[in-house]
């Protein structure tokens, strides 16, 4: 059995690894520190991320850099309307065996990688989308009646463009719910833009250094689940999730705007994501327990894509983030 000292050491190593990752990423990606942290958290929690942002914000670069720094295999799938499921999962092809007989051999698709970038996932047909989503959920693909296991760690980073909705197939809510986080890329600030210009128009930086391998990530994933969580903190998370449900009054007894604008609140999967993410954040911060702040910070990426808003919210321009902010404001830490 591990001792307290060993726990302290592994926490320090996790933190150190994360710090190194951030430092290395900063060489290629300007800004987006918070986004990088959240992607890493999703990775160590075994989740997948849906990245939303306008073109040119560095989504692909970030994912590719992450794959290189983590010493993990990386593949990119550009989703288009004519993309077929087999183009993602792979397919059985007819080949000759050593004895010269014709046999079907499984040709692995791009999904067989540790980190998969599903670029503009909403441009593919639902059939193709669901092929990827099955892989995300089951971490295996079934082709020709045979299941093929994907390697761990496995992480899908799907991107979608909030503009140019014509000719797209928005992800069904049930499929969106399978993403651990939905991350929104903001437009860079003035200083960040200047730094981007410097970085991309001068001599390219040296190739990224590998700071973490797959085994270490799986180890950290195990540690995350061992982080103690106080009942009161857990209750806080539960009440936040409850607060996203339209029919539930919040702690101070007043009906929130969730009641008015939310059609369906967060699913239990949202609570799982929230707590797991909070634990990962605590670990990466070198803290042995989850704090209220961890919960608060993880609310938006964990729950924003799990709220289904009504038409009234659309009409009034109310987004999920505004509702979540109000929920956070109203829910007390301790009852």
């Amino acid at each position: 059995m591990e001792s307290v000292t060993e726990i302290e050491q592994r926490m320090q190593s996790a933190r150190r690894a994360f710090d190194e990752l951030k430092a290395e990423m900063a060489r290629f990606i300007v800004g987006h520190e918070e986004l990088i942290e959240q992607v890493f958290i999703a990775l160590v929690c075994g989740g997948h991320c849906l990245l939303e942002g306008v073109p040119g914000l560095g989504k692909t670069l970030m994912v590719r850099s992450l794959g290189e720094i983590l010493s993990l295999s990386f593949s990119r799938i550009q989703f288009t309307p004519d993309l077929m499921p087999a183009d993602i999962t792979g397919t059985n092809v007819l080949t000759d065996d050593p004895s010269g007989r014709k046999i079907f051999e499984f040709q692995r698709g791009p999904v067989f990688a540790h980190i998969v970038l599903a670029d503009e996932i909403n441009r593919a047909t639902p059939k193709t989308q669901s092929a990827l989503l099955e892989a995300m959920q089951e971490q295996s693909v079934t082709v020709g009646g045979k299941a093929h296991r994907l390697e761990s760690p496995f992480m899908v980073l799907a991107t979608q463009n909030p503009i140019e909705m014509e000719g797209t197939y928005p992800l069904p809510e049930a499929q969106v719910d399978r993403f651990f986080f939905k991350l929104v890329l903001r437009y860079p600030s003035r200083e960040e833009l200047a730094r981007i210009a410097d970085l991309t128009t001068a001599t390219p930086p040296a190739p990224p250094r590998e700071v973490l391998d797959g085994a270490s990530i799986l180890q950290i994933r195990q540690w995350v689940r061992e982080v103690p969580l106080a009942e009161i903190v857990k209750d806080y998370a539960v009440r936040i999730v409850m607060g996203t449900h339209g029919g539930e009054a919040l702690d101070n007894g007043t009906a929130s705007s969730a009641r008015k604008f939310v059609l369906y609140g967060s699913s239990p999967r949202g609570l799982q994501s929230l707590i797991l993410a909070a634990k990962a954040r605590a670990l990466l911060a070198g803290r042995p327990n989850v704090s209220f702040e961890d919960i608060r910070v993880m609310v938006a990426p964990s729950l924003r894509h799990r709220l289904i808003l009504n038409l009234e919210a659309d009409a009034e321009g109310i987004g999920a983030e505004k509702i979540l902010a109000e929920v956070l404001e109203r829910v007390a830490e301790v009852l």
């Binding site: 103690p228 969580l229 903190v233 042995p288 327990n289 209220f292 301790v334």
Partner: protein, 476 residues
């Protein structure tokens, strides 16, 4: 339990003890504030309490009522312990280490990760002093509790509740008592000025009864009983005063008062040097002056006495007897009036109608023999009987009343100068007869001469002046 866990348990207990203590203090002050505030609001109703001194207990009663409710409502619960620890985490930046450690200790979690949380929390909280970290915090109502109590005590000390009550929500007892006190004061003044001994005593008794009722030392029932008892006592006194039957019962009150004034004047005349011999018949001058005292003269006539034949001693005896009888009769009538007034007070209904009736019937006074049913005035106060003119129609000048003035200097006849005009007097517009005017002047002069406001040396001069008025009237 590990040593870190023990340290934490001790520190947590210390923190909760301190927080409980602060809460108890706050509850005490909150209850005190609301108790005093409630007592202040209930101040106008304090006089309705059955026992007068119980109004001083009002805040205590409110306190005893509110304290259990608030203590129960703000009792220490598990959530409070959690809140205290969350506050501690926030204050020390522990990021919920204390809160998590508390739960882990309670759960008996011995995993290394749990022990690490406990260890880190223990290190941070080893030197914790909750009293230094979490000071007492007072809200506005906590601070106001003491000043409010002082205000309440001051108001109670000044009997504001009673004043307020008498001004805004008068109780029947207090209203009646106030009227009675006013009546008693007037009765005493009148009795003192007219020398009515029994009436004076009664006035003092009534004032005492009224004051007790105003001070809320008696209940309404007690007050009514006391009024009834006093009424019976007056009845007995009136009967005693009426034995033997007075020959003056047919006289009007005004006549009796005039007679008393004239008797007093006559007594003064008897002390003149020319009449001081005692056994000798009175001189012509005295008899002439006696003619200026119509009531006295009438009495002599009624008794078929010739004042000329009487010696000074005999006349003195007559005057003494008449004065005693007149005073007794006046005393008896005043007592009877007082009894009637008390009966009316007792029988009056409550409220505005009762008060109006009280005014109407309180103004009735006896005329002549004192039987009820004769003409009455609209005042309940003594001295406003028929025969006296209303102030609006009073044409006679009043003697100035005020603080006695002392004039320094030597007395004696001074130089005088003037012009003498002779002319035919014209009749004035006054409807009063000259006799009435002179009698009134004389009465007022007598009253003033008996007071200290007129210097002793001038009394004789003034007396002579008014006597000369009578003489001139007789000559006419």
């Amino acid at each position: 339990m590990s040593s870190e866990a023990e340290i934490l348990a001790d520190k947590f207990s210390e923190l909760w003890r301190w927080e409980r203590r602060k809460r108890r203090e706050q509850v005490f002050l909150t209850v005190s504030f609301y108790s005093v505030a409630a007592a202040l609001l209930a101040l106008p109703f304090a006089v309705f309490l059955p026992v007068p001194w119980s109004r001083w207990l009002m805040p205590i009663v409110w306190f005893l009522l509110l304290a259990p409710i608030l203590l129960f409502k703000r009792r220490w619960r598990r959530e409070d312990s959690a809140r205290a620890l969350a506050r501690l985490d926030r204050a020390l930046g522990l990021e919920e280490r204390a809160l998590t450690a508390w739960e882990l200790i309670e759960r008996g979690d011995s995993r290394p990760a749990a022990q690490l949380v406990v260890k880190q929390a223990a290190v941070q909280l080893k030197g914790l002093d909750p009293t230094a970290l979490f000071h007492r915090r007072w809200h506005r109502h906590h601070v106001l509790a003491l000043p409010l109590l002082a205000l309440w005590l001051a108001l109670m000390g000044f009997d504001i509740d009673r004043r307020f009550n008498s001004g805004v929500v008068p109780s029947m007892t207090v209203t009646t008592a106030l009227k009675l006190r006013e009546y008693a004061r007037a009765l005493q003044e009148r009795a003192q000025s007219e020398g009515l001994r029994q009436s004076l005593g009664l006035g003092k008794d009534l004032a005492k009864v009224a004051q007790q009722a105003i001070d809320a030392k008696t209940t309404e029932d007690q007050f009514k009983k006391e009024l009834a008892a006093t009424s019976r006592q007056i009845e007995a006194m009136g009967k005693a005063a009426g034995e033997p039957p007075s020959p003056w019962t047919a006289e009007s009150q005004q006549s009796l008062r005039d007679l008393k004034a004239e008797l007093e004047a006559a007594r003064q005349l008897l002390q003149f040097p020319e009449t001081a011999k005692g056994t000798e018949p009175l001189g012509q001058q005295w008899l002439d002056r006696l003619a200026g005292l119509p009531q006295l003269k009438r009495q002599f006539d009624q008794e078929n006495q010739s004042a000329q034949k009487l010696s000074q001693n005999a006349l003195q005896a007559f005057i003494d007897r008449w004065e005693k009888q007149a005073t007794g009769e006046l005393d008896r009538r005043t007592l009877l009036e007082a009894q009637q007034y008390l009966d009316q007070l007792r029988n009056q209904g409550q409220g505005e109608n009762g008060e109006q009736n009280l005014h109407a019937s309180g103004g009735r006074e006896q005329e002549g023999s004192g039987e009820a049913g004769k003409a009455r005035t609209n005042s309940s106060l003594p001295g406003k009987e028929p025969g006296r003119k209303d102030e609006r129609f009073q044409s006679l000048p009043e003697f100035a009343t005020g603080a006695p003035a002392r004039v320094k200097g030597q007395l004696g006849a001074g130089d005088s100068s003037g012009l003498v005009f002779k002319g035919k007097p014209l009749p004035g517009k006054s409807e009063l007869s000259q006799e009435e005017v002179i009698a009134t002047y004389r009465r007022q002069a007598e009253a003033e001469l008996n007071s200290e406001r007129v210097p002793e040396a001038l009394k004789e001069t003034i007396k002579n002046y008014f006597m000369s008025l009578g003489q001139s009237e007789g000559k006419k």
